[in-house]
Point group: C2
Chain length 354, copies 2
């Protein structure tokens, strides 16, 4: 608290990220990182670029990365925006596309950074409740708005919305931007990226942090009509000319281009999720149907906070949110088979001891 | 231009960074990069960290880097803020500390990103003219304001303000934040960092891009009273939890800790500057007294734009601004001895041929 702060600083409620413990001997299933390492080709590209050229500024437009994303999704580079993690990309989106008189709409249970951005840019918003089984009912979005944003699959529920529903929503909502935050799309959801040519108000956001195992490198991107991308670029060029360092740009490019490694990794995560689902259900958990690299679970006889604390004592970290409606759920990231087996084993012990 | 843009997007005049040419055969003296590579220890630290841990999110607070900066400047980590290049740090400063009813003050000839940030955050500002020899007259800042910012040494003039003048300015201006942007301080200026304990409204900004040869890594930092740092952190945590990737954090830490390499590099740049000054003066240039890793020069008989174009034809890039008062100046970054000798040789030919 300081007399020198701008007014806005006093009113902010900053986002609180999941714990990044400094101890290495924990099974870390709390921030939805990929249990598998980045593509060896990405690591090689970074090593290759770790040389005297780091004295130079990077390409302010990250053209090489935009081109690889454009190639991957069959777009032009004018339809691609890149940033320092998808959180930065989202921040620019809120400022560039969501500040209107009418309220921004997003689900009541969703990525908890959305209301924080609204606070930062003084954006009017309204949350739309998920239904009783935690699904988005797109009918509820059929109202006046200054924009719509939701994760697909949703976080922290893991539940995906079908492409057919997204298309219906887009058809009904042409007067404002619809942003689909596809951080977890590669683990079983259907990307809306092919709808971009049809809907000039659609923006799809993705990240390299989950399916491409590069959370430590900070690269995210948005795809949409060139006019939307231009709006984001105007904000970016008024904020920081060079958001991506050279290593992030080149490592991310190599990761996008290594399609085989990417597909294999996603496949492995999905198989482990299937096994973990079964194990958790056998332990009496209710497991929401997940299309993401995490599961969202609740137990009829055990409080989520207690379970999280008991797991922590056994050196396993999962995420517990104190948000209403979901405060009796745990979000558990999909680890390796061995990590998930250890989790199931620990939960078995915890539950049978109570 | 799009119906979907927030109102602010239409009114922005984004910053235009110096050219980053993709050809390698140019002598690049246009963006004040260091001609020497980063510390070998920084490159080694990056190589060491290029491994499977990149799948994990970095430390959101970059504690290890804050600690190394705090140690270097004899501060606590609560007095240090780090960001994705000093441009991002500056952006957060404008939003966190400069949005007040009274106008922000900065020199009329200065870093051209300052008015861009004012546009982005809708901040009222007033420029204060440099005097006839392009110096800041601190008397002119003795007026009601919502903040003061200036680079020291100033850019693109290269002229430094004495610590005594800065102290006088701080003593007279206790009701708003004074930010000293020390991007070029290590090439001969005197840092104001030791005044932090005395002035709770002083914030000092530095970058790893110039004196530590890491423009490609994107790391900047701010130092000041813990209350000011807390204000910046509240904005950062409402914008992007993890602005520094793991490689940037660790590479920058190693660079800060390699004091010997840093001092030698700065020394070499200053020696080359001295030689270049002499050469340019012999060619009839007026060279402003520079404490930075660039010189700002004008020639009584040759137009700056023409000289820049002629140099470009000889594969040498320098920076020319079309801003009033300085549109007949060139800003020339200090390269290696060989690069500067080539520049002098080319200028000799160009000037004698006219």
């Amino acid at each position: 608290m300081s007399q020198y702060w701008s007014k806005i600083v006093h009113s902010l409620t900053p986002y609180v990220p999941g714990e990044q413990p400094k101890a290495n001997d924990l099974i870390k299933l709390n921030t939805n990182e990929n249990p598998y390492p980045p593509s060896p080709k990405a690591l090689f590209a970074i090593e290759e670029a770790t040389n005297s050229t780091l004295r130079l500024y990077p390409d302010p437009n990250s053209d090489i990365l935009k081109q690889s994303i454009a190639n991957y999704y069959n777009l032009t580079t004018e339809q691609v925006f890149v940033g320092n993690g998808s959180d930065e990309v989202l921040a620019h989106i809120f400022q560039a596309l969501f500040k209107h008189d009418k309220p921004l709409l997003f689900p009541d249970i969703s990525y908890s950074f959305y209301p924080v951005y609204c606070g930062l840019y003084n954006i009017n918003y309204k949350t739309i409740p998920l239904n009783d089984v935690f699904e988005m009912s797109i009918e509820s979005y059929n109202q006046d708005n200054g924009g719509i944003i939701f994760p697909n699959p949703n976080a922290p529920t893991g539940i995906a919305l079908s492409l057919a529903s997204i298309k219906t929503l887009l058809e009904r909502n042409k007067h404002s931007v619809v942003v689909i935050d596809e951080a977890y799309i590669d683990f079983g959801g259907e990307s809306a990226v092919n709808l971009i040519k049809q809907f000039p108000n659609l923006l799809v956001v993705q990240t390299m942090s989950k399916s491409r195992s590069l959370a430590g490198l900070r690269v995210g991107f948005a795809m949409g009509h060139a006019d939307l991308i231009q709006g984001l670029t105007r904000i970016k060029d008024s904020f920081n000319s060079y958001p991506l360092d050279n290593l992030a740009m080149l490592g991310a490019t190599a990761a996008i281009e290594d399609k085989t490694y990417f597909k294999n990794t996603c496949q492995k995560v999905m198989l482990t999720r299937q096994k973990l689902n079964q194990d958790l259900e056998q332990l009496g958990f209710r497991v929401l149907p997940s299309s993401a690299n995490f599961v969202f679970v609740t137990h009829p006889e055990h409080q989520a906070a207690d379970l999280a604390a008991a797991l922590r004592e056994q050196a396993i970290i999962v995420r517990h949110f104190t948000t209403p409606r979901i405060n009796d759920f745990l979000r558990i990231s999909i680890g390796t088979d061995a990590e998930c087996a250890q989790l199931s084993k620990s939960l078995t012990t915890i539950i049978s001891n109570r």
